[in-house]
Symmetry: D2
Subunit: 310 residues, 4 copies
């Protein structure tokens, strides 16, 4: 069994890791170390009331573990590591932005880097928008021309747990809005992963809780037939990324670690629609997927999830 | 024209008063004094971005007015009056709880007290839950027996503007929950208005922004035929309270100053369903209705509103 | 392994069974017979697009199976059985209303009838409202007096798949409404299960998709201390029913087979709030729980679900 | 006073016209002819339950009127006119698509054609997406280069009243999806109005009822300073179209006839965000605005609406 520590276990991504690892066949509740300074000593249901049937209690301090998941805020993951020197053999999966462009870390997108992840001990888990957009663009590496135009919408859990004006129900319900146009913080990791700089990205806040839909329009340098076949080929042996016949709606993947991708072509313009659950494939689910790869397990272990469907 | 001051004009109920009074035929934008200490000197769209086409600017200090609307928090209305002694002739309409049980003030439910409101200069505007429940029970005064069982649900604007755990979109979306069971603060004014004490009240938070639905089940001391006729008679000359043939859904009145009431009887048990928009008939709309009555205007002046409908 | 047939596998409850049984340790995709006359020959993702990674294809005809789940409409389950005589050893779990009051069938509420379910081959799965309300009342058998007042709210999946006026998004969004007051079709099974007739039930439609919250107010014949202890004792060895310290919101259980129950007492009045996911503990999850019991498996097999949480 | 006939008064846009015209200072309830074949003889609240306080009854047949609003489906407006020859002096405003590209009709976008509308008797009311996108692009006529990339999201009322799979609450709630990518039926009228063909349009369905947000990214042939000033100048004397400092969210205009436009520039790329209420500025509100212009009234008559705000 794998002993897994979650640093920042009272937050959104920490809570999702708890929900996944407690039923993971190689972890289980008794091998979870749920670290939370704010909730130390309390039952996990104090922060995550749905976990009423859990036996896990938050602890204040990290002790030894086989894998450490860093679920603390951006900037704090590097600080935590500085304060907690780990044996080189301990696997670390950082869900924050801190190491995604750091050459000493492996970028944890299995569809791009699976074999390197398998041998890595330091993995930087991709951003949620980044995952959605990279999976739409990876099969088009070397085929792009001009600007790539991306509009992507995220639910309220993308904004974190602290209440704010833009997560207030009275404002966000029945609403949609643009934010961070042109300069979202995920652009550098996207550019690095797909090898293309000219990405015009308009992020939006949607009126739902879970899920990201990215609508990506690209100009092909040389329009080709068989674009869908190319996507199918690239993702053939990746168990969570699925090319679909239509353009997927976001709820199709909510509650799962899946990414669904559909496309439509008109002349040299191609629309790619990709959808994920931002807390699963966009965060904690992908972190478990990376853990599975790093420990040589079946990539889907512990990720046979019940879709929300409705 | 009537010069109207709104104390606390940057909040929810203050904003609704702005939206109503700017087009009121006896007020209009140039006769509004929008007092806000937090936003003084700024255009009203800083707090209420929908008011982009307004000419009103928040001011820091109250000056003279024909009517003063107190839209400050509970407890602060009395304090404001203590600091701002007003001529006795100035009409004051207090939307807070501070004076609802104060015998020196008139309780501003027109369906109960219209003629007394007409001659009053100090009116305590009823609470939103209180309005919904009182209008369901007023026609049954003297006919009740045993406990009255009320379940009422409110939208997120009932909780005010400050972000909190229970107004966070990630929690409130797709959710429903009970709060303040048995001891909601509106119970005393309801008991006083309908002359009945045995009210078992279970309030709930709903996943919408505007609107209250109250489901009230009463036991009749002597079951009667013609209950609907009795309701119709009581509300015949009240322009905003309508008895309907079915049981109304809450969206039927959102965006209006209306209350719709439906009922269903089975033996000695009667279900009354009443619905209002908590910010209009439950707050600012009723405040304008009271102003109209106090100034001898048509009761519906400025309240010919466009329902949201969908 | 258990060979499981789902009759009506393209509907809501049939789809949920697919989602559960494909990962059930004693079933799995290769042992599912997904019968759908409307979708025969098509991949399950035609009806359930989230099941993109499944290998199951709908079939037109039932063949032999160890357990048959009837997910057809009310009235059609009895008709299906008449047309398909089954060996007495085949377990049948009927999710429709057809046999809930039939003495030849066992009523499938494990918290009430677990040992009888274990030896039954014909189990009538309880209604969704019925489950929520019965679990609130079971520990109070013999303690009730006068009327029991229940208000319960359900999401749109409770209304089935066929589009209608009351499931149209433009109407249902941001809305709440009462329907079938006093005479909901689940009342007889509730009365039979809790042994009490005087239940005044006001059902409501809520603006969400999954989940039921029931608010039940009872009068105790003899008010007692230790009410929570009594609930805890009754449900101590039932793995899905949890007594909680507060009054639970509905989203706490969405995506799980759990029921959470909270309570609050004031004199002889007791409020019990119970919540379930109507498609899981209220339908397909409970059906799998019953299957587990009938086959002597761990009651929680295949029901270690990921809560939606947000 | 103006006698106004609404053909198809039981539908969404017909209902909105009822809500607007009943309080219009030059129309009023007694001058409305509400034609509905399906609801003839019934009170308008049968189709529009919020209109509980109306005196209007649906009629089966059109008689004479000063202005006729055609609120019937696409294709049916031309058919209706063929069956009902009208005096040339009768003003006709067609809310369907039937005459938007017909040179015998004036395209009813006041910001583009106000003076021509004033002298027209046949006005084709623009589409809802078309209005939102045209108002974003009009000030840029002659400045565009390459493709214009538009992503626009609409609420469920954009899909009409008939229940369907994509308006079913269980599917649409918490969801977002792309439809009619590249070939939405509004593209021809947009191209004709803004004088530019290369528009790549990705429409989306949002999880709300009212409102459209369009995100339009253009490449400027010659990037200029003072872009906002140009927009301000173009819309200076148009009372409903407002240039704002930030990027507007859609709820800012819901319930009003306003369009708010914000913009952000980066090099030769300009993002323009425009928002309207699809049933008001995108349909019935703009129809009343056109009526006002055609009859020489104040353009804002009857359109002083209460924003939904929350």
């Amino acid at each position: 069994m794998i002993r897994a520590a979650i640093i920042g276990a009272a937050g959104y991504t920490g809570g999702e890791l708890l929900r996944l690892l407690r039923y993971h066949p190689h972890v289980g509740e008794q091998h979870i170390v749920a670290v939370s300074t704010s909730h130390a000593g309390k039952h996990v249901s104090h922060a995550h009331p749905d976990l009423v049937d859990s036996s896990v209690v938050f602890v204040s301090e990290f002790a030894a573990a086989d894998v450490v998941f860093l679920c603390v805020g951006h900037g704090k993951a590097a600080a935590w590591l500085a304060e907690h020197p780990l044996p080189v053999s301990t696997r670390v999966i950082d869900l924050s932005m801190d190491h995604r462009l750091d050459p000493a870390w492996m970028y944890g997108l299995p569809e791009a880097n699976r074999s390197d992840i398998a041998s890595a001990t330091r993995v930087a888990n991709p951003g949620c928008f980044a995952t959605t957009i990279e999976l739409a663009l990876l099969p088009l590496r070397g085929m792009l021309e001009g600007n790539v135009y991306v509009t992507a919408l995220t639910g309220s859990t993308g904004a974190g747990q602290a209440p704010s004006d833009t997560t207030h129900y009275s404002w966000r319900a029945n609403n949609v809005s643009v934010y961070k146009a042109f300069d979202h913080q995920h652009l550098p990791e996207i550019a690095a992963t797909v090898g293309y700089q000219n990405i015009v990205f308009v992020p939006m806040r949607g009126s739902w809780t879970r899920g990201i839909l990215a609508s990506t329009v690209v100009t092909l340098a040389n329009p080709i037939d068989g674009l869908r076949a190319r996507f199918n080929e690239v993702y053939a042996d990746h168990p969570f990324t699925h090319v679909v016949e239509d353009l997927p709606d976001v709820k199709r993947v909510v509650g799962t670690n899946n990414c669904c991708i559909g496309m439509q072509q008109q002349g040299d313009q191609v629309l790619i629609v990709s959808v994920i659950d931002n807390l699963l494939k966009g965060a904690s689910g992908q972190a478990v997927q990376n853990m599975n790869i790093m420990f040589g397990l079946d990539e889907t272990s512990g990720l046979h999830l019940h879709p929300v469907a409705y």
